[in-house]
């Protein structure tokens, strides 16, 4: 097992309303030998403000990079939006000297400087590149071979390829491989890489929820027992809003939506309580029964 050490960058959405993701990710990473250090200070990565002010986004992201550089540690994020933003800004500012000087001019006002000495990885990338999918597989004590699930990568872990580029945006494999490492089967379905709609919430809830509904329909079509996400916003769209979508479109889904580290945690022998399953909105009762029944058969 590797002994890697990262600054954990939580972002805003996770502490605001997606605690289960953080709880399960911390437990799983500790078990797999990834050490986490807290950010000494934090501000929004900048992405939410990019639509209104690109310059503000660059400054906010560069501040975080500069703060991490002072610690001499690379960043691990749980939110693909934060990961994408920090990666993109790091690349842009390293390549464009004039822009770097301009942004550093702003940072100087608060005694900070961007140097470009660290990198950022999303949880998924750390599991793949630092821990290694084989090591994840070897750490499994309770294989989830009784489960057929579907994955949802979301947009910002994949696109735009020019800045993110660690998986194929048209046919991504990492999350699938990590799901299969738990022993579960990962099902293929229509439009897997499509957007959950979250960024349109607040501008047009109707458009946003229709996109999420499409996804739930496609996942239901292949009889997935659960949907697995790796983004706080996607999770809100499918879990927090699932009931709302059911009411709005007169549908019944009842599809549990797990954060990937919750699924992995089960396979590593942790309990649903430890992994904060009680924080999820859609009931996981039936799913956990299926896991227990399958485990009994495995023991026989």
């Amino acid at each position: 097992m590797p002994n890697s050490k990262y600054l954990i960058f939580l972002g805003c959405a996770i502490p605001y309303r997606v605690a289960a993701y953080e709880i399960s990710a911390r437990k799983v990473l500790a078990k797999l030998g990834v050490e986490l250090v807290e950010m000494p200070e934090f501000n929004c990565c900048g992405l939410p403000l990019d639509p209104v002010s690109h310059e503000t986004m660059l400054i906010l992201a560069a501040r975080n990079l500069a703060l991490a550089e002072q610690q001499g540690l690379n960043i691990l994020t749980l939110c693909p939006g934060c990961a994408g933003t920090l990666k993109k800004v790091n690349k842009i500012l390293k390549e464009d000297k004039a822009l770097r000087e301009q942004i550093n001019g702003h940072l100087k006002e608060s005694g900070l400087e961007f140097k470009g000495t660290i990198t950022t990885k999303h949880l998924l990338q750390v599991l793949k590149e630092d821990v290694g999918i084989d090591n994840v597989k070897n750490a499994v004590v309770k294989p989830l071979n009784m489960l057929n699930v579907a994955e949802h990568n979301g947009c910002h872990i994949l696109r735009p390829k020019a800045y993110i580029g660690f998986d194929d945006p048209e046919d991504p494999q990492t999350l699938k491989a990590l799901i299969e490492a738990t022993g579960a089967t990962c099902l293929d379905y229509v439009d897997e890489t499509e957007c959950c709609g979250a960024p349109s919430v607040g501008v047009s809830d109707k458009v946003a929820l229709q996109l999420a509904r499409d996804k739930l329909n496609h996942v239901k079509m292949v009889n997935a027992q659960a949907l697995i996400t790796i983004c706080p916003f996607c999770h809100i769209m499918y879990d927090t809003n699932e009931l709302r979508i059911e009411k709005m479109f007169n549908e019944v889904y009842g599809i549990p939506v797990l954060h990937y580290p919750q699924l992995l945690g089960l396979a590593l022998g942790m309990t649903p309580e430890e992994l904060a399953f009680n924080e999820l909105r859609v009931s996981t009762k039936k799913l956990l029964e299926q896991v227990n029944e399958g485990a009994k058969i495995n023991e026989q």
Binding site: C12, E41, S53, C155, G202
Partner: protein, 186 residues
């Protein structure tokens, strides 16, 4: 806001008068970060046909927005409600055969609209929250305390004073200081 984007649909259909065209708009755009390749667009329609938002909106069409911007229909584009519908999924950017960073062009257009004072409330709230706490959302005391019972370490502190200093030179943010919904109520 774009829920009732009827006005925009009409604005897109309305006949174009030469007098409303800004001939230099496209040259202004290609100097801005993200829209440099705007003129390479050959109007193939890949962006619109692969856009998930266009599927559920009567009026949001990235190809049309690109075309209008190139024609110089600056006012219509910047005042269009649908501009704010893009989900920034970057599908268009990755698939454009001409390498136009479509989603970034939309972002550039939004930034220009914002400079003219057109900013949906969600963004005003987030700007003001970042300036006041460092976080994009106001995280309640209750949540902060709950972290302890959940066995989570304390949340890293925001440093609003330092954030404000870094953003002092950004004129747009100056106008956002007191635009959040919560603050307006106080």
């Amino acid at each position: 806001m774009a829920e009732n984007a009827v006005a925009v649909k009409d604005a897109m259909k309305e006949p174009i008068r030469a007098s409303e065209l800004d001939p230099k708009f496209k040259y202004q755009l290609i100097k801005l970060h993200g829209s440099e390749k705007l003129l390479k667009c050959f109007q193939c329609g890949t962006c619109t046909s692969d856009c998930p938002v266009a599927r559920y909106s009567d009026s949001y069409r990235p190809r049309t927005l690109i075309h209008m911007a190139r024609l110089g229909l600056k006012d219509r584009v910047l005042k269009s409600d649908t501009l704010w519908l893009c989900a920034a999924c970057f599908t268009c950017t990755d698939r454009c055969p001409q390498g136009v960073e479509v989603a970034s062009v939309i972002r550039v257009l939004r930034n220009l609209a914002a400079e003219e004072g057109i900013v949906p409330q969600v963004f005003k709230d987030q700007c003001s929250s970042v300036l006041q706490s460092g976080y994009a959302y106001k995280i309640s005391e209750l949540r902060l305390k709950k972290r302890d019972t959940l066995g989570l370490p304390p949340l890293p502190k925001g440093n609003p004073e330092s954030v404000q200093k870094s953003l002092k030179g950004v004129s747009f943010m100056k106008n956002m200081e007191n635009k959040g919904e919560n603050d307006a109520k106080q």
